[in-house]
Subunit: 339 residues, 2 copies
């Protein structure tokens, strides 16, 4: 039997809590015997939701957390004040080493701040980047960093590139992942001060497959597997990706519904169309990992349904079994010795 992975799940986080996280926990343990899920939240609420299901009792545990951090709360303050919230209690279980990972659909800010301050960074890691997978024509790419720590320095981006490469290879399963840095032209003389400072450092890295600069127009067609950028740019890319996809699909639906003839056409074409559009949906791959911490922290969409959360739990298992943090530590040690 393979090693048991212990995943803490925020039962109160996201638009669909507690239903979606509780269902996700049950689905995950029904599918695999090597997972234990620790549901953290208001005990009575979670217990009642859980009572709707039949499941192997020894694989789910409940931990009480009477407080809830709301989406709109200022993150730093919320983490500091709500010690009994599902996010603070849940992250505490990872810090203590009692569990391997924490998954939440709750406040992104609170998860980011809590991850860094409660779980803490791996020794030698300067920043913990948030690295969502985004859909492309050919699969998915890892966009690293989309977090809240803006104004990064070149050495931060180099660490992002290395951690992203390890994740893409060993969790997502891409062989020899192509690593690129976001720039405003393929030519190296272009770019801002940060890109110009980072480029020579990335070229020196022998442990990643660095392929150079990528323009944002080439991201959707799958131009690289690991897309390195600082958090402001990453956030702009991620949110434009979501916004533009949704607007364009809306515009196309409107077009399909605009005439009687097109409506008949739409009815015939819809099943095939839905399938294709679904392939352009990254939630299949689970949530965004916050990398470089002493334990895995995964943030799913606030609107995550059970399936995305279940996939995030599986993602934690792969992360644990592939010993990603061990590999990151090894990599950081090597880099420091080289210096």
């Amino acid at each position: 039997m393979s090693e048991m992975t212990r995943v803490v799940l925020d039962a109160m986080g996201g638009d669909n809590a507690p239903q979606a996280p509780v269902q996700a926990a049950v689905d995950a343990i029904r599918a695999r015997t090597d997972i234990k899920v620790i549901l953290v939240g208001q005990e009575e609420v979670v217990r009642e939701e859980l009572s709707k299901y039949e499941y192997p009792k020894e694989q789910i545990e409940l931990v009480d957390a009477p407080e809830v951090i709301e989406m709109a709360e200022p993150p730093v303050l919320a983490i500091r004040r709500k010690k009994q919230s599902s996010i603070v209690v849940g992250l505490g279980l990872v810090k203590n080493g009692e569990t391997d990972a924490f998954v939440s659909a709750g406040s992104t800010g609170a998860v980011l701040v809590g991850g860094q301050t409660i779980v803490g960074k791996i020794r030698g890691i300067q920043r913990a980047p948030l690295a969502p997978l985004i859909p492309t024509e050919t699969g998915v790419s890892l966009l690293i960093d989309c977090g809240a720590n803006v104004d990064a320095r070149a050495e931060h981006l180099v660490q992002f590139a290395k951690m992203g490469s390890i994740y893409m290879k060993d969790v997502v399963g891409v062989k020899n992942p192509r690593v690129a840095i976001v720039n405003i032209g393929a030519e190296e003389e272009k770019g801002n001060a940060l890109v110009k400072a980072t480029l020579p450092l990335l070229k020196e890295c022998t442990d990643i497959n660095f392929v150079g600069c990528i323009e944002s127009r080439d991201i959707p067609r799958g131009g690289a597997d690991v897309i390195v950028c600082e958090a402001f740019v990453g956030n702009v890319i991620l949110k434009l990706y979501e916004g533009l996809s949704s607007t364009l699909i809306g515009v196309i639906k409107q077009g399909l519904m605009s005439t009687l003839k097109s409506k008949i056409g739409a009815a015939l074409a819809l099943p095939a169309l839905k399938k294709t559009i679904k392939s352009f949906d990254a939630t299949e791959y689970g949530g965004a990992p916050l990398l470089g911490l002493n334990g895995l922290v995964v943030k799913t969409h606030g609107s995550a349904k059970a399936k995305e959360i279940t996939n995030s739990i599986f993602q934690c298992v792969t992360f644990n079994q592939e010993n990603i943090n061990g590999k990151i530590k090894e990599n950081i040690k090597d880099s420091q010795e080289e210096e």
Copy 2:
């Protein structure tokens, strides 16, 4: 009769030269009597192309420019060395005050560098931003700056906001345009150092309708009319817009062609769909103006067809008739007096 606008057109620029620019010139003067087009390029080549058309001769003039700047040439070097190129000769005609505007589908870098060094900036303007119109669900928005001058300062962004607002109001015809700055959250405590420095300055501006921060996800739905950002971020937004639209439309076409049933549906739906997708196409509005220069410089897509170039010529006429540069100068003077 209204004032004549004299537009210099690069007959050698872009993928479809000289056919597209020459046709665009003829279409423009056939449509309006208040335009004179000065075609700049290799005289023999342009004359031969022009001989295919019947048109009012007094409205088109030819100026010889034997050299051509290629797309891949380093811009600064190309502008310095190829004094007899269509871009350098054409921009020279604007600098001398002999003409009002210059339109080119040629090398973006060369047009940007040439615009700033040959035509020169309006006194008091610190940077000349490139400001393309991007399509949204409700119309178009002006994205300012998408140029090559990265690492901007707060006072640059304030000037972009003001120039963009004037352009959107008097050239595009949007009443009281909503001006927003790109940020990674609607909350003001979020953002990088540049956004945090710019926000208070924008709030103090009484001559624009500043509505606060915009997240990139809200750009496609038309969240603001003038989208202010520094050039690196603007370039990422612009190119991702183009890349993602094209990939998504490709994915949808693939979906429509995937089964026999969907193919029949697609055939029925296609005309309506094409019309809707076309409404999401900014080329209808002409090219991207390089603002803040002593004369208008407009960069169209490298792949521009005659229609986009003709629209760019009309754009120059509106710019001239609405005295946009006079308004920018007035605004800059007022700002300096306020200080």
